[in-house]
């Protein structure tokens, strides 16, 4: 399945480079946001809360 997906992406990249560019940015953006939220939750469950630091 992953192989097929990679092949499709490779095809898009050669046939429609702009679309491939947008797909790359969109995938990374969504992945980054989801990971940030997910890891926040994991750290909270583990009880490791980050501290807000006073900056001076």
């Amino acid at each position: 399945m992953i192989g097929g997906f990679l092949e499709t992406l490779a095809e898009i990249s050669s046939e429609n480079p702009t679309l491939y560019g947008l797909i790359v940015v969109a995938i990374i953006l969504v992945e980054g946001l989801l990971l940030a939220l997910f890891l926040e939750l994991v750290f909270r469950i583990l009880g490791i809360e980050v501290k807000e630091i006073p900056h001076h």
Binding site: L6, S13, V24, I28, L33, E49, V50, I53, H55, H56
Partner: protein, 612 residues
């Protein structure tokens, strides 16, 4: 896994490990990490263009996660970030044009590499020197010992003095006023260098924000990461349209870097500003050596040197990651072992104008901070109407803190003391201020700074009066919505100060008898209200479990009067109560129980804010 675009076979675990490594460094230093990932991918078989494109995509994801975390930590100055982006974008374009010109005259390679080496080496060496100077001053035992980071430099002071409108305030970065042109110029220069060198520029922007703009280290890190999201997104898009991004490799690396970024960002809570600068300086110095090796590989025609350069930077990144991860783990474990009840470190603000009663407040505040393992900030407010020798205040406060072994960050504000203290206290869990405890006629009628602060407080506030020593605590648990917070705080304080504690419950007269007082004893009230006795027993049990000697007493009457009477009877020198006041004009008119107690009690008072 096989990656069809780059035609490379690479292990997914290896990609995860590279991602983790760069994530830790990115979260900790506020850099994209291009100078680590690109050579790493190249070493493991990616053609250079694919290595750069995939790296840019990875940097984008990594920066999103790290910025998210830093935003939560309050480290991202969005206003500064947006201004910097404008300057950076223009700078990158100009930098690129210069590179194209140099390409035409055939000198691009050597010029770019030489500037890269100078920049990395120069910045690293300067930061290392700055850290060494700081350490020397610290060892000399000067008052700076209490300050964990030095903010600003001569350069930033000069930049702040540029009087070219429009001027903007950056409250997040604690910059009162700075010319917009100065920010744009710094953004432009860093952008120019990034465009010229063909890098993300995090390693230039972060120190530039610290030294040229006077931004605190952690905010420079967070804001830099915020900028990197935009620059790397554009880069990733452009490389992807050329088919030079292996999205699966980038996505796998982002998973690793996301975890790493959490640890890196978390580490900034345990490793303070100057130490971060030290690690950063070491990393970029090694990066400079690696570029020198690459340059030698080309000029002396020894290709193997280029591979060694890649291994060198990878080893440094690996060791630094290990060091940061271990520091974080150590910090978390130590914190949990010493303060199991406190999930995150408390932040305490010690505010002073330099008077003796303020020094008493600092002494008591520092004792509590030590007990809590709290982060401490010393705030010196300079009232323009009064002549306050800030250096002298800092020195005397520093002596007290040093004596108690407490380290604090220092901040100086100018303006009305009450207003400035209230503004600054928003970010803290506890504000500690001093008050002389005796009252002039004017103060009696109009109220003093302490009363004003308590009646408008933004966080729990401890007003220290005649003495810093506490021998007995009286905690008032009248208000149901504050009861839990007051009980918890009182037990914590009694434990830290190792003193007995009494909880007082005042039943307002009309509740017991609408016309006149019955003069019931505490025992009689408990008999009359069995549910109150149960609650009292629960509180005593809780205190006992924490090793605190506690008792509960009931009184009937007007709370304001009964609290003061009980305090006098038992000889308590610290009163704890909930914040019961109205806010705004109504508050000014009718006052509050907490305001009344602060105004009339001659002992220290802790008012627990509703957010506690």
């Amino acid at each position: 896994m096989y990656l069809p675009l780059a035609e490379v076979e690479i292990s997914g675990w290896l990609l995860l490990a590279i991602g983790f490594c760069v994530g830790v460094l990115a979260g900790f230093f506020g850099i994209g990490g291009g100078f680590i990932v690109t050579p790493a991918l190249n070493i493991f078989g990616f053609p250079m263009a694919y290595a750069i494109g995939t790296d840019l995509s990875q940097i984008m994801g990594n920066s999103i996660v790290a910025t998210f975390k830093h935003r939560k930590l309050g480290n991202v100055d969005l206003r500064l970030g947006f201004f910097m982006i404008i300057g950076t974008a223009i700078g990158v374009e100009v930098g690129k044009e210069v590179v194209l010109y140099l390409e035409e005259i055939g000198k691009v390679g050597s010029v770019v590499r030489s500037i890269y080496i100078l920049l990395l080496g120069g910045t690293g060496a300067y930061m290392l020197f700055d850290y060494w100077k700081f350490k020397k001053e610290e060892e000399a035992g000067e008052e700076k010992k209490v300050v964990t980071e030095r903010v600003g430099s001569k350069l930033s002071e000069m930049v702040h003095r540029i009087n070219l409108p429009p001027k903007v305030a950056l409250p997040q970065s604690k910059i009162k006023s700075i010319s917009l042109w100065a920010i744009l110029l710094v953004g432009f220069i860093t952008g120019f260098l990034a465009g010229f060198l063909g890098v993300g520029g995090g390693f230039i922007r972060m120190p530039a924000m610290i030294y040229a703009l006077g931004v605190p280290t952690t905010i420079a890190i967070g804001t830099d990461l915020f900028e990197i999201i935009f620059s790397s997104a554009i880069g990733a898009f452009l490389y992807a349209t050329e088919g030079r991004v292996e999205i699966v490799a980038a996505a796998v690396m982002v998973c690793g870097s996301a975890i790493g970024a959490q640890i890196g960002a978390l580490a900034t809570s345990y490793v303070r500003g100057m130490k971060i600068r030290f690690y950063f300086a070491l990393t970029i110095l090694f990066a400079a050596i690696s570029v020198v090796m690459k340059q030698l590989a080309v000029s002396l025609s020894i290709p193997v040197l280029s591979t060694y350069a890649g291994y060198l930077i990878l080893s440094v990144a690996g060791l630094m990651t290990l060091n940061i991860t271990l520091s974080t783990a150590k910090g978390v474990i130590e914190e949990r072992a010493v303060y199991p009840a406190v999930k995150r470190r408390l932040r305490i603000l010690l505010a002073t104008g330099g008077s003796h009663h303020a020094l008493r407040a600092i002494r008591l505040g520092a004792r509590l901070a030590k007990g809590y393992g709290a982060e401490v900030t010393l705030l010196v407010v300079k009232d323009p109407k009064e002549e306050i020798p800030v250096a002298e205040v800092q020195r005397s406060a520093g002596k007290v803190l040093k004596e108690l072994g407490v380290k604090a960050e220092l901040t100086v504000r100018h303006g009305n003391p009450a207003k400035e203290i209230l503004k600054a206290s928003k970010e803290y869990d506890l504000l500690v201020i001093g008050s002389h405890g005796t009252r002039s006629i004017t103060e009696h009628l109009l109220g003093d700074n302490a009363t004003h602060i308590v009646e408008n407080m933004k966080t729990s506030t401890l007003v220290v009066k005649r003495k810093a020593e506490v021998t007995k605590i009286l905690a008032c648990v009248n208000l149901p919505r504050y009861r839990e917070a007051v009980v918890r705080r009182a037990i914590e304080l009694a434990k830290i100060l190792n003193v007995p504690l009494e909880f007082l419950y005042v039943l307002p007269e009309p509740l017991i008898y609408p016309i006149r007082r019955l003069h019931l004893s505490s025992e009689e009230i408990m008999e009359l209200y069995p549910e109150k006795r149960e609650a009292a027993e629960e509180i005593i049990k809780l205190a006992k479990s924490e090793g605190v000697k506690a008792s509960v007493k009931f009184r009937e009457g007007i709370p304001e009067e009964e609290i003061l009477l009980e305090k006098r009877e038992i000889g308590a020198d610290l009163v704890i109560l909930g914040d019961s006041g109205w806010r705004g004009i109504l508050g000014e008119l009718i006052g509050s129980l907490s305001g009344h107690i602060v105004k009339h009690a001659r002992v220290s008072v802790l008012v627990v804010h509703r957010k506690a």
